[in-house]
C-alpha cells in the first residue's frame, strides 16, 4: 500500500502517479490521505488499481474511470465517476449532484444518499444508491441501471431512453415519458445481481421498476405538451 498525502503532494503528482500505476497493470494499491475536498482526484485511471481516498472529495472524483476500483471513505462532490467506463467506484458517504453522469460502464456504489440528477444521461453504467436520490435523477438516461434502496425525488427518469430504474421506496413524481413497468423474472435476476455486487441488504421483490414509455422517441406534435 502506497500512501499519497495531499497535504504534501500536489493534485498533478497524485494523478500522474495513479495514472502511471494503472497503466502498469500491476494491480497496486494506493491510499490518498488529506484529500480536503480536492477536485478531480483519481481521474482518468486506465487499468486495474485499488485507490482508497481517506476523506471527502470535491468535483469529479474518479472521472472517466476504467478498470480501477476507487473508494471514497467520505462524501463526494458533484459529478463523481462522471463518464465512468468500467471498474468500481464506491462512496461510503453521500454523493452530490450529477453522480455517475453520462457513465458508460462499471458500477457506482453510493452507500449514502445521492443528490439531484443522479445518473443524468447515463449511457450504460450501473448505479446503486443505498439511500435516497434527488430530483431529476436519470434525466435523459440512455442505458444502464439505476437502483435506489430509499426514495426518489421529483421527475424521476424524465425523458428516459432505455435505462432501467429500480426503486424500493417512494417516488415523489415521475418525469415525462417515465412509467412504472412490470417486474419480470429477468428483471428480478438482474436486480439481484446488482444488489449483490453492491453489497446491499435488500430483496429484489421489494422494488418497483420504471422505464420509458417510448412515446417521445420520435417527434410528434401531439406530444408537445409533455414537456
Amino acid at each position: 500500500m502506497t500512501v499519497l498525502d495531499m497535504a504534501q503532494v500536489s493534485l498533478r503528482e497524485v494523478n500522474e502517479t495513479l495514472q502511471g500505476a494503472a497503466r502498469a497493470q500491476a494491480n497496486a494499491a494506493y491510499e490518498i490521505v488529506n484529500p480536503r475536498g480536492s477536485h478531480a482526484v483519481a481521474v482518468g485511471l486506465d487499468g486495474p488499481l485499488s485507490v482508497t481516498v481517506k476523506g471527502s472529495t470535491g468535483y469529479y472524483c474518479a472521472g472517466m474511470n476504467k478498470d480501477a476500483a476507487v473508494t471514497v471513505e467520505g462524501s463526494a462532490g458533484p459529478g463523481v465517476a462522471e463518464n465512468m467506463m468500467s471498474g468500481t467506484v464506491t462512496i461510503e458517504g453521500d454523493a452530490s449532484q450529477y453522480a455517475g453522469a453520462t457513465g458508460r460502464g462499471g458500477l457506482l456504489n453510493i452507500k449514502g444518499n445521492a443528490s439531484s440528477r443522479c445518473g443524468i444521461s447515463m449511457k450504460g453504467i450501473d448505479i446503486v444508491v443505498h439511500g435516497n436520490i434527488g430530483h431529476m435523477s436519470a434525466f435523459m438516461a440512455q442505458k444502464g441501471n439505476l437502483v435506489v434502496l430509499g426514495d426518489a425525488g421529483d421527475a424521476l427518469g424524465d425523458s428516459l431512453y432505455e435505462a432501467q430504474i429500480f426503486v424500493r421506496g417512494t417516488v415523489k413524481s415521475l418525469g415525462a415519458d417515465c412509467v412504472e413497468k412490470k417486474m419480470k423474472p429477468k428483471h428480478l435476476e438482474l436486480l439481484a445481481g446488482l444488489l449483490e455486487r453492491a453489497g446491499a441488504d435488500a430483496k429484489p421483490e421489494e422494488f418497483k421498476r420504471y422505464g420509458s414509455a417510448r412515446k417521445l422517441y420520435n417527434f410528434n406534435i401531439d406530444h408537445s405538451d409533455a414537456y
Binding site: 493534485l11 498533478r12 494523478n15 500522474e16 495514472q19 477536485h39 478531480a40 481521474v43 482518468g44 486506465d46 470535491g58 468535483y59 469529479y60 472521472g63 472517466m64 476504467k66 458533484p78 459529478g79 462522471e82 463518464n83 467506463m85 449532484q97 450529477y98 453522469a101 453520462t102 458508460r104 440528477r117 443524468i120 444521461s121 449511457k123 450504460g124 434525466f139 435523459m140 440512455q142 442505458k143 425523458s159 431512453y161 432505455e162 422517441y217 420520435n218 417527434f219 406534435i221
Partner: protein, 441 residues
C-alpha cells in the same frame, strides 16, 4: 368600353410570398420548420468592410516576392503541446451522423493537406477522421455521445462546446432517419429514434464549474492538450471573459451565420448576433484581461473567402473556422444535382434539409448509396484547393496593407461601408474618421 388601366399587382413586404408559404406550411403540418445551415437573412457582414490598402503612410509588400506569413499557434496559455497550423483557417466541428463517413474523411484529408486542423462533432470520433486528420480537435459536448478517455487522449486539442452561433442556448435533434446502426452504436441509443443533443452540459453549470471541469480534463490528459471553449455569438464580451476566467487556452466564437445540422428555423434566424458584431467585444474582453494573443480567438460564422479571413484577423481574431463553406467546397448544393434538388422541392444553393438524410451530394446523409457519391480523396483535394485559395487571397490583402504576417492586420487597415458595420466593427465609416459609439464624439 373605357377601362381604368390595371396597376401592377403589389405583393406585401410584410406578408411576402416566402412568409405566406411558411404560414401555409405551418397550418398544414402543425410543426415548426426544422432545417440545417445558418441564418439566411441579410445581416451586416464582412462585405460591409473594405481594406484601405497602402498609401503615402503605409508601405506595401511585393506580391509573389516578399514573404507574408500565415502560421498560427493555438493553445499557448497552458497546454504542453499547442497546435501549430500553417494557415489561420480551421475546419469547424461537424458530427459523424449529421455528415457521412466519407465527408468526415474528406474534411480530414483536405485540412491535413492544407496544414490545418479539423474537428469532430456531436457523435464522437470516427476512425475515418482520426486516421486522415493530422490535427484533430475533439469536441466535448453536452450530449457526450461517444465520449471516452481514449479519444480524449488521442485528440490534438479538446473543444468544450458551450454554444454555437446558429442556436445559442439551444440543443439539437438528429432525426431517426439518419440513425443507422453505426450512428446509434456510437451514441448508446436505439437505432431509428430521434436523438436529442442536450442544450447544456449535464455535470456543470456556469463558469466556476467549468473551471473545475477544465481542470479535470487537463488532469485526465496530462495537461498536454489545448482546451478550447466554443461559445455562440450571444454576449461576446462576457462570454469571452468568462471563458478566459474558466481557464480556456482558446476561445472559439461562432456568429449567427454559423451553420447547424438541424434546428428550428425560428431559432436560427432570431437568436444570436451577426459574426461581425461579435469580434470586437470579444477582442476587447481579451485586451481588458491582458490576454489578447495569449488566449487565441477563433472566429466562425459565414467565412467564405480570403477577404473574410483577412477582415476577421484585422479585427483581432487569431484564426477563423469554416463549416458551411467547407461543405460547399466538397460539393454541397452543387448545381450538377439540380434535377434531384427539384425532386426534393428545392434548388441548388437553397437546399438545407440536411436533417432528412437525402442529400443528393452525399454529404449530409447516412444513406450508403448517396454517401458513395462523395469520393473522399477528391473531396479532400477540393477542400485543400479552396483553403489554399483563401490563404492566398488573405496574403494578397495583407501585403497590400504592408503586413509581413497576416496577424499584423489591424482595425486601422479597414473602413466600413455602412453605419451598422462601422458601429459593429468599430472602424470608421468610409470617408470619415468616425464610427457610432467612438469615444470622444
Amino acid at each position: 368600353m373605357d377601362r381604368t388601366p390595371p396597376t401592377e399587382p403589389r405583393q406585401s413586404w410584410t406578408f411576402s410570398r416566402e412568409v405566406n408559404s411558411e404560414i401555409r406550411r405551418a397550418a398544414e403540418t402543425g410543426i415548426y420548420d426544422i432545417r440545417g445551415g445558418g441564418a439566411k437573412r441579410r445581416v451586416p457582414h464582412f462585405d460591409d468592410l473594405l481594406f484601405l490598402g497602402a498609401s503615402m503612410s503605409r508601405y506595401p509588400l511585393e506580391g509573389y516576392r516578399e514573404k507574408c506569413e500565415t502560421s498560427v499557434t493555438l493553445g499557448t496559455r497552458f497546454a504542453k503541446k499547442p497546435i501549430e497550423l500553417k494557415i489561420p483557417i480551421t475546419i469547424a466541428g461537424m458530427s459523424f451522423g449529421a455528415l457521412s463517413g466519407n465527408a468526415k474523411e474528406a474534411l480530414g484529408r483536405g485540412a491535413t493537406l492544407a496544414g490545418t486542423s479539423t474537428t469532430t462533432g456531436d457523435g464522437g470520433m470516427t476512425e475515418e477522421e482520426r486516421g486522415h486528420s493530422e490535427k484533430l480537435v475533439y469536441q466535448y459536448l453536452p450530449s457526450r455521445y461517444g465520449m471516452n478517455p481514449d479519444d480524449l487522449r488521442r485528440a490534438d486539442a479538446i473543444e468544450i462546446v458551450v454554444g454555437q452561433g446558429a442556436k445559442p442556448g439551444g440543443g439539437g435533434m438528429l432525426l431517426g432517419q439518419k440513425i443507422t446502426e453505426r450512428v446509434a452504436g456510437m451514441r448508446d441509443l436505439p437505432q431509428g429514434i430521434d436523438q436529442r443533443s442536450a442544450c447544456r452540459h449535464p455535470d456543470w453549470t456556469g463558469p466556476d464549474d467549468l473551471e473545475i471541469k477544465i481542470l479535470e480534463i487537463r488532469e485526465i490528459t496530462g495537461w498536454e492538450k489545448p482546451i478550447y471553449v466554443k461559445v455562440g455569438g450571444a454576449r461576446p464580451y462576457y462570454d469571452t471573459a468568462l471563458a478566459v476566467k474558466a481557464g480556456a487556452d482558446v476561445v472559439v466564437l461562432d456568429g449567427m451565420q454559423g451553420g447547424t445540422a438541424a434546428t428550428q428555423d425560428v431559432f436560427i434566424e432570431h437568436v444570436g448576433q451577426p459574426t461581425l458584431a461579435c469580434i470586437r467585444p470579444a477582442v476587447q474582453a481579451l485586451q481588458d484581461l491582458g490576454m489578447h494573443r495569449e488566449v487565441q480567438l477563433v472566429v466562425s460564422g459565414g467565412i467564405r473567402n480570403g477577404a473574410d479571413v483577412a477582415k476577421a484577423l484585422a479585427l483581432g481574431a487569431d484564426a477563423v473556422s469554416i463549416g458551411t463553406a467547407a461543405l460547399i467546397a466538397l460539393g454541397d448544393n452543387d448545381p450538377k444535382w439540380e434535377d434531384e434538388y427539384r425532386k426534393l422541392g428545392t434548388t441548388a444553393g437553397a437546399y438545407d434539409d440536411w436533417h432528412e438524410g437525402r442529400d443528393p451530394a452525399g454529404i449530409t446523409t447516412q444513406d450508403p448509396e448517396l454517401a458513395a457519391r462523395l469520393d473522399p480523396v477528391e473531396g479532400g483535394r477540393r477542400l485543400r484547393n479552396y483553403l489554399n485559395v483563401m490563404t492566398l487571397e488573405c496574403q494578397t490583402l495583407a501585403r497590400a496593407c504592408g503586413k509581413s504576417h497576416v496577424h499584423n492586420l489591424e482595425p486601422e487597415d479597414l473602413c466600413a461601408l455602412t453605419m451598422e458595420a462601422a458601429a459593429m466593427a468599430r472602424v470608421p465609416l468610409a470617408g470619415t474618421d468616425w464610427w457610432p459609439g467612438k469615444p470622444g464624439f
